[in-house]
Symmetry: none
Subunit: 136 residues, 4 copies
């Protein structure tokens, strides 16, 4: 489970964690029964206070996305309704549009923008691979 935070967006960190885990669960990226990283290692990895992760997990539990078993950890619950492809794309398009608007304001043209997107995809995949290697 790879989570990335943006400390400057104004969006609370714990909500960013909630959103990303919920999205992963809803899209089938995480399946019912899958264990989540425990609080302390995740907090260390994200360089965030433990309370922040605890709050995110608490929020996810009240939302019914995960379930915590004392002494064992947190697990994905049976998700009622994974997103349909159309819904997923709509959520994604919101994010993409924001990047496009920023590019326009910064005077970045389509070609340069697409170059940057590919560059960031490469960087992301590298990070993801590194994270997975560490887990194994």
């Amino acid at each position: 489970m790879l989570i990335e935070l943006n400390f400057k967006s104004g969006m609370p960190v714990y909500l960013q964690v909630v959103d990303q885990i919920r999205a992963a669960a809803a899209s089938g990226q995480l399946r019912p029964g899958d264990p989540l990283s425990s609080i302390r290692p995740l907090a260390m990895q994200l360089r965030v206070n433990r309370n922040t992760i605890a709050k995110a997990y608490a929020e996810l539990e009240t939302q019914g996305v995960i379930e915590t078993v004392a002494g064992k950890g947190c697990f994905i619950k049976n998700s009622a309704s994974p997103f349909r492809k159309q819904v997923r794309n709509q959520m994604l398009m919101v994010e993409i549009d924001q990047a496009i608007v920023a590019a326009h304001h910064l005077g970045v043209k389509r070609g340069e923008f697409l170059g940057l997107v590919n560059e960031r995809l490469d960087a992301f995949e590298e990070r993801a691979a590194a994270a997975q290697a560490k887990e194994i």
Copy 2:
């Protein structure tokens, strides 16, 4: 200029205003010289405090999106980003990364993601062209 607020998202209200006006300016829905709603009426309409809108407009001014003239009002500026290319790309990468992370958690693969990006670029350019056509 229609603005919609989501008071439950955790995203600061003033940033929601900033984003929506930036998007409108980027797409050509608002054009250089166009006046923005005045602070007080907009605050009343959105049922937020006057200072919240003032903060949003101040932020837009420092970003170089609008120009405010005390006693007269706020106007869309000729967009020319005052930042260096390096800084510009850094700002943009933050936005792009957010979209990539969302794609990852939604289980959208690289190819599909790039397809969506191109689709949204097309849509954006179409909206911008339509707005320009209206001007003529």
Copy 3:
């Protein structure tokens, strides 16, 4: 860090704070990484509202002079102006013009003015060197 306010000058208090901290950072009196006084104590010491200092610090952050970490504090940044050369010169010209206008009204001629500018540059560089020496 000693800050002095003049409540009668008509210059906004938050801008006075900005100027004085900028000057301290520029002269080396405050060095990259140095923490600034926290908002609340500084506000109490200067007998102004907390929001006034917060606004000053926010302005300093957008100018790239300091960096604020929520929950930890504000710190002097490695100064690297994020602006384009053209914009930079424009900002600087405003400051220079103010000095020139003052010289004009005080009846100071070009030669004498340039002499003073060089004198102040020497003095500034000396202060900066002294501050750096202290560091070692």
Copy 4:
């Protein structure tokens, strides 16, 4: 009498006018009995509301710097104490130091800075000459 305004400094425009006229009077640039520009032309020249100039002149009168003769205009009063050279230079140094600090933050080096100063002096002298030509 050449006056230059900075609409972005945060300092009230009418106070900028007051300061510049007071400096000119105190330095001997304007002598007792000299007439000031009347309100309307000055307001037009500075692209400012007439009320703003009227307020500046009123302030100058209460400060005892000028005297208004109904139907005739405003004139410099006998100034009690023109600034001594040392005092004058001190006032000027404050302005110069501000420009130097700004240059430092913007990463402008001494040579480039001095070049800009000379450039602005040229520009100023040109404006001053043009203004004088118009008056004649």
